[in-house]
């Protein structure tokens, strides 16, 4: 019988050497690098297009200051609302089996796949129905500030739901099972075990929802209009500056948006990382 470690076809004269890892790493860097270069190229081109006086001008503009304030407040409220809804829906989809789950899953993706303008139009029509008009009698929504928050929320929440679903999918449900054997109801197991573990996912979902809301434009244009000092958020400002031919102003507002978004995201993530270490 042939010994197990000596079989035909194996070249023992030349010791085996695994292929180099260098081409693989270069390939990864090249593919990733193209995208990073594109992003940085856009930013550098924007910056090079501007004169410092353009920045001074937009900082002095009361309209832009109003739009910045409104953008920050509405995006933060939309992000909070999104989390409020995304956590229970994400948990429901992750932990429970029920009839119509696939349909619910598909419905929750609608705001992601629909063109933004269609979302704005659909919201506009919704608030023209009997129920919508009844709500409008109590709180003016359409073409008012609440419409901005609703338009941002509708889109941002869909992304937050996806993030929370995958967050809860990654948390082992076994720990909640053990909590139940120790005396927890499902609700107690959620609040005491799953919820604290989902903090990192909530931070990701919240920042994603905030960033999405901050850059939202299409639904806001249709549902809220583009009235200066009223329903003007920063993306609206870019649009309004463009529409009057002030390209420098539009680019300067864009740069302001990037700066504000980067500062907010860095601060939130930094705070989040510190919280996680506690």
């Amino acid at each position: 019988m042939m010994p197990l470690m000596e079989f035909n076809g194996l070249n023992k004269q030349k010791p085996y050497r695994a292929p180099s890892d260098v081409p693989f790493v270069i390939g990864l860097c090249l593919l990733g690098g193209v995208y990073v270069a594109l992003i940085l190229g856009m930013l550098l081109a924007d910056a090079a297009y501007l004169h410092p006086s353009d920045f001074v001008q937009i900082f002095q503009s009361p309209e832009i200051r109003y739009a910045t304030r409104l953008s920050l407040i509405s995006s933060s409220l939309a992000a909070l609302l999104s989390l409020w809804v995304a956590v229970p829906i994400g948990y429901l989809l992750s932990r429970f089996k029920f009839r119509g789950k696939s349909l619910l899953d598909a419905v929750l993706d609608i705001p992601i796949v629909l063109p933004p303008l269609v979302i704005g139009l659909s919201l506009l029509i919704l608030f023209q129905t009997g129920l919508g008009r009844a709500v409008e009698k109590v709180i003016p929504i359409t073409y008012a500030i609440p419409s901005i928050i609703i338009a941002q929320f509708v889109v941002a929440c869909a992304f937050a739901v996806r993030t929370m679903r995958s967050t809860f999918d990654q948390i082992d449900s076994r720990r909640e099972d053990v909590a139940c054997t120790l005396g927890c109801s499902r609700s107690q197991a959620f609040w005491r075990v799953a919820f604290p573990e989902a903090r990192r996912g909530m931070l990701t979902a919240g920042t994603l929802a905030w960033a999405r809301s901050f850059g939202e434009f299409g639904p806001i244009l249709i549902f809220s209009g583009a009235t200066r000092m009223r329903t003007e958020v920063l993306p609206t400002s870019v649009f309004l500056e463009m529409s009057i031919g002030n390209i420098e102003g539009a680019v300067a507002v864009s740069m302001l948006m990037i700066a504000v978004a980067v500062v907010v995201l860095v601060v939130v993530r930094g705070w989040g990382a510190k919280e996680m270490l506690r």
Binding site: R175, D177, A179, T181, L182, C184, S185, V193, E197, R199
Partner: protein
């Protein structure tokens, strides 16, 4: 006492049919069987984590077939331990007691008592991420024992430990058995453990449980 009476349980395509056995009060029972024969499925059914299709389950003389896991009074240690990563060891030991709205003084006393028994006094302020396999096992045992359950269910508690830790936990289980007299159902593969710990030995084989 644990009494499983003609229980049928499904787990995906897998099925256990007409399973019956009984563990008398205060006994340390070890359930053996090959991998995939349904030991964990059976244990989870007793704990109330898996619904049974037929039969009845009695714990401490009460029928609990349709009772929620929370109300069965079982201390459960799963194979993967499932410690809570956001909680300290102290919070693990106090967990079941805080649910029962026990006074803080009583909780502190119980935590001290359990941490002494389990030799984890120095670990009380640590989180699971910093614990070794043996230490994690002790914490999981403490968490399961804290509310003084009538029944303890252990799913292969020694399988993932090195030889030294295995011996330590084995000694600890023997001590828990002697000091608490809690009725225990312990799943294992290892014959050596059975010699040291078992009052009663059961084997799950060919879809039936038989007394060895």
């Amino acid at each position: 006492m644990i009494k499983v009476d003609q229980v049928t349980v499904h787990a995906g395509d897998f099925e256990l049919t007409d399973i019956s056995f009984e563990v008398p009060t205060g006994d340390y029972c070890m359930l053996m069987g090959r991998s995939g024969c349904g030991k964990t499925t059976l244990l989870e059914s007793i704990c109330g984590l898996r619904k049974i299709s037929a039969g009845r389950i009695f714990l401490m003389g009460q029928e609990v077939t349709h009772e929620r896991a929370a109300n069965r009074g079982i201390g459960f240690v799963p194979q993967d331990l499932a410690l809570f990563p956001t909680m300290t060891v102290r919070e693990h030991l106090a967990f079941a007691l805080t649910l029962r709205k026990t006074e803080k003084k009583t909780i502190d006393r119980r935590v001290a008592e359990l941490s002494e028994l389990l030799d984890i006094v120095d670990l009380l302020d640590r989180k699971p991420a910093g614990l070794s396999g043996g230490e994690s096992q002790r914490v999981a045992l403490g968490r399961a024992l804290s509310a003084a359950p009538g029944i303890l269910c252990l799913d292969e508690p020694l399988s993932s430990l090195d030889a030294e830790a295995r011996q330590e936990i084995c000694d600890l289980l023997r001590r828990i058995k002697q000091e608490t007299h809690v009725t225990t159902l312990h799943i294992t593969h290892n014959n050596l453990e059975t010699e040291v710990l078992a009052d009663q030995l059961l084997r799950l084989e060919g879809g039936a449980v038989r007394l060895l």
